[in-house]
Symmetry: C2
Subunit: 368 residues, 2 copies
Amino acid sequence: MGMRSRREFLGAASVVAAAQQSRAQQAAPPAEQIRIGYAVVGLGRLAQNQILPAFAKCSRSRVTALVSGDPVKAARLAAQYGVRTSNIYTYQNYDSMASNPEVDAIYIVLPNGMHAEYTIRGAKAGKHILTEKPMANTPGDCRAMIDACRSAGRKLMVAYRCRYEPYNMAAIRMVREGEIGRLKVFASDHGFNIGDPTQWRLNLKLAGGGSLMDIGIYSLQAARYTSGEEPAEISATMFSTPGDPRFKEVEETILFQLKFPSGLVAHISSSYGYAGNNRYRAIGDKGWLELEPATSYTGLRLRVRQGNVTREIDLPQADHFAAEMDHFSEAIRNNTAIRTPGEDGLQDVKLMMAIYEAARTGRTVRVG
Amino acid sequence: MGMRSRREFLGAASVVAAAQQSRAQQAAPPAEQIRIGYAVVGLGRLAQNQILPAFAKCSRSRVTALVSGDPVKAARLAAQYGVRTSNIYTYQNYDSMASNPEVDAIYIVLPNGMHAEYTIRGAKAGKHILTEKPMANTPGDCRAMIDACRSAGRKLMVAYRCRYEPYNMAAIRMVREGEIGRLKVFASDHGFNIGDPTQWRLNLKLAGGGSLMDIGIYSLQAARYTSGEEPAEISATMFSTPGDPRFKEVEETILFQLKFPSGLVAHISSSYGYAGNNRYRAIGDKGWLELEPATSYTGLRLRVRQGNVTREIDLPQADHFAAEMDHFSEAIRNNTAIRTPGEDGLQDVKLMMAIYEAARTGRTVRVG
């Protein structure tokens, strides 16, 4: 599994310190020794701005390899994050990570349409897989990813970072503990005014869909995780501005309504065409609970209304990516359960396909 | 038309003052002389807590008659609001208001299912009609009301009070002036946890429907008046808690999605089963604008987001009912246009019928 301590990289000068550390390990192993080594695959903005910096805040995870089609960028980031030059891979020699014991897990930060291939190849190379959301473009791809990891005896997790940060976790707990009474309606808006028309998110083959696949999925996830229920019926409508060069292949805006077995109903908008919105409100028969921003990388705010009183709840702001990676590392290390396994990602992809079907046909679609 | 001054009610002691007032009139008629006299029909909580007290804040409207089936309550309220005992009517002798010149207009505050009958009888009695929302239970009733007032040469207005108060008027202006860019999505929740299962609002014949007819209509109106557009397609879903004694005849919760010709889409919830929610957000491609509370009787708040800045806009809180009644009085006095005529009420009732149809059938309904 390659859980080497950082000693390996310190060189001769630190032999004495290393020896001291070695003695200390007999009492309790230092955190460094139990860090899971990650290869980060795909070095776009998310990897550069969020994921690579997050390793510094991890206690159980470290970056040990990079995979990129751009050798210059890869070399620069390897130097910045202390990754050995020999641990830089391309998409062609990706599979050769199999023989690299410093890589325990692969974090796939590629366009959606590439998640399946790199998950399956990664599992075959004997690595655990953490993949960005959405898990894949189709339920079939999701199932193939689950099967590949199961066959390889490797773990699979979808990077639903909001499930690992304090605000959304508090929201889940408060709803489940009945602080707003019985949950009746879930309302949410997620979207932003997307830029560059040539980016992969607007390419159907790479993205699998438009705003829903990228940002509406946060609302969908939150409806499911706050309620702990799965929807039974879906209706939807969508719209793309005619002639807008950004929306030739994927939808701009989609609205959807979900009906759950308990009677809970959700109404949600997702858009690539409106100014930043990032919020949900869970409405119960005794009050409501709102996060806004709900799923931004930082700065989340939680307000709760009970009776005639609205109060804001302050919690520590955690690094979502660090929390998510350390959860996966712990699951790998201790063989504990993963909060957001492949099955969770598959369910969202199945539901998103049903949302698209409902929008296309104008008819309520039954799911589940 | 019976625009008598208050002098008539002052008695002998004020003759001198009245004579002085009379001289002053030659320069400019005092406000008292141009007040339109209203009969308030139906003395339930809305009339007692909001409408009757609002006359004190009016400059063009005064209450001159009451109509009730409860003579004790009517006498008490007549004394409280300075209405002559001879101007108390019952539902039986309602039509005899025709010969009462102190009644120019009738404000109908009855259950929804009674609006049509009392509008038509009132118009035949020669009175202008201000009716509470929803205008009636069916489009057919709405058309009959419009026809009756037109035939009688009398004005007809629906009491959409939010169209006359500063916050919603500012929201309309800001959207129209492009302060949030092009309007993309309208999101709204209106509802409350309704009490007494025996009240008329839960009786299908009297109410015409459930939460949608009573409170969801605020969201529907706001989607229309902020955008200035009429929806072309509707999808919807509804839910009532099985066994809940409140929802034997009418729906508890209904969600609906509207698609407008410009591409604007709206997603809305309306409920009698959740804790108080009263809000809408208009989302444009350059920002958003939110009212919460949006349509409460008072305490409205308006926030606007542009770029990365959210600011709250303070405006005077006006009495919505006083503003609405004075608008109608001015229209009667000066024959000016009514902002919310019967045609506006008819449109909402037509759309609500389409929302119910979409929820029942699970199919998108085209309207307009």
